[in-house]
Symmetry: C2
Subunit: 348 residues, 2 copies
């Protein structure tokens, strides 16, 4: 079976560029699960293209689709015979993130308690927050890289509550949150007051250039942009604009569930133009809590089987970069433009 032709057909029908490797991973994943969200998780390419693949594979009698899920046909079993069996061999201790939280057990306890009453994710702001362990692990990586102790840090959007983890640690010089959702800024401010740490919170729409008082002020920023080129450019570009000097650091999450590698390429090229250099890209570092509004999303409409996810299925890579001499940020104004959706996105 020529996976190249299959990839071509699915690319053309879904308008999302996928390749042989994507098909191989998908076919390998079909040996492990019959459920749509687990399949996307294991396949690691954009949701609309995964679900389009299901249609094509059904037409080619490689799978059958029923309410019980996807099933390889006799022909399908033949096709996947020599395919790589998609397996999770990530380290169970650190869940593949490479760092330990041992040093931060007190912080972990406090953070787990405090975040319990957090506001839920809402669709209006494309929210979908990470697990508490992910937030703490991000904190630990930033700590190890020297981006926490004695540093001024800005969070551009913070439904992951990084500001609270940083605040509870007591290690930073200053923490600023710019965020569009008042429920979140209120929760963060109240938590800071109750737990006794200082925080600077402001309501900001990142489609507009960063307010002047935040430009060239910070040692590090953290953000988790929606996965369109424009949103990535806006959120990360504002982040770069907020950084103080060469050697400052930026962190962001970027998934393949809503971005093909072609889009990854465009984002990498775009960011290098700002004169930053990538220091880390950690696969599947960020694990997201199922956000509860699944049924309202395009992903749900596209899914050939209408079942809710049983476990967390949405992951993204953690990117870290540093600024170089002559770095510059993004000051473009996107007005009221919808910069949050494109053909590869599906969860907003």
């Amino acid at each position: 079976m020529d996976f190249k032709d299959l990839a071509k057909e699915i690319s053309s029908r879904s308008k999302i560029k996928i390749n042989r490797k994507n098909i191989e991973r998908l076919l390998g994943a079909l040996r492990k699960t019959k459920l749509p969200w687990e399949l996307v998780d294991l396949s690691d390419f954009p949701v609309p293209a995964v679900f389009e693949s299901m249609k094509v594979l059904e037409e080619k009698e490689i799978i059958s689709i029923s309410d019980a899920g996807f099933k390889l046909t006799a022909r399908g079993k033949e096709v996947v015979k020599d395919i790589h069996p998609v397996e999770d061999i990530s380290c169970s201790d650190c869940e593949g993130r490479g760092i330990t939280l041992e040093k931060f057990s007190d912080l972990e306890k406090k953070f787990l308690r405090v975040q319990k009453n957090r506001p839920g994710a809402i669709r209006r702001f494309d929210q979908g927050y990470v697990t508490p362990k992910t937030t703490l692990s991000r904190f630990a990586v930033a700590y190890e890289r020297g981006d926490v102790v004695g540093k001024e840090i800005i969070l551009l959007g913070d439904d992951d509550l990084m500001s609270i983890a940083l605040g509870l640690s007591g290690l930073t010089k200053g923490i600023t949150v710019v965020e569009i959702d008042k429920r979140l800024t209120d929760f963060i401010q109240e938590t800071a007051d109750k737990e006794g740490f200082k925080i600077n919170v402001q309501t900001v729409d990142l489609r507009h250039p960063l307010p002047k008082e935040h430009v060239k002020k910070y040692d590090a920023f953290i953000t988790d942009p929606p996965e369109t080129i424009k949103a990535a450019d806006a959120f990360i570009g504002r982040g770069i604009a907020s950084l103080r000097a060469p050697g400052s650091a930026g962190y962001f999450g970027f998934t393949r569930r809503e971005a093909s590698l072609t889009k990854w390429y465009d984002v990498q090229k775009l960011l290098l133009k700002y004169r930053i250099v990538f220091t880390d890209i950690v696969h599947n570092f960020n694990e997201y809590v199922n956000w509860g509004y699944e049924e309202e999303t395009r992903a749900w409409r596209l899914s050939p089987i209408k079942v809710r996810p049983r476990k967390n299925w949405y992951r993204s890579a953690l990117y870290r970069f540093e600024t170089l001499d002559g770095f510059r940020g993004n000051f473009k104004d996107y007005g009221e433009e919808n910069i949050y959706e494109d053909v590869e996105s599906s969860t907003t």
Copy 2:
């Protein structure tokens, strides 16, 4: 104390671009070690700049230097007081690599036995090989990413003996080694014969374009280039030339011990031009065995204290990328040019 001025002075004297963050890490590291190689390991920037920093810090009476090592003066202790304490919080289970070798315990046993009689590193070819656990972990990452099972793989230079790990696994479709050192090609061929796996071995100088029979033939390549721009371009560019199709994968190691982040930036920019996209950059993934010819290197001459390293101190990041539509490799001929040394290199 203004680290910006310090960074400027060291950059100008060493001709290597470093920044405030490098100085912070170096000062933090001085609280942990007084020995030169450990200091480089913890500081994570080019050796010549680290050792130049020692001179500058001595002149500024922040440290004193004796045969016993570097020591913070009273003034120095004041300076480092609020600096981030450089600490190892990487996961002890996977040594920060994020993957487990559990599934491969048989392979691990075999590989550890077989590699015992391997040829040592020699200076002539800028050799310095990684620990067996590093080689096995690279194998595991490539396995997880779907670049091993049923794949044609080429090693461009192989003093890390990846070909043997791949061969012993019995999982690949084919393994090719192009390598300049006959001691290594002989060892690999003999091992393959003894252990009963097939391998295609050829003596090749990567300064010249890849022989035609290897162009556009492989699903994945692995290389570990010397850290100059030209050598990276040659080794990795030949690797890309060897790849078959979009969705093929490249793996290479790149250190900060001999490359500033400015050089990292140049390499990232250069590689994106070949239309590849970075999928992973894993910090300190590769750990190198001390190569035994330390005293003959520039690093040794530059070191303010002539002591041999007590433990492995040289690490590099693991990069992985995938090819996109329209990717192309490097076919430039460097003739007999010395592409292996620049101002930031020091271990050849």
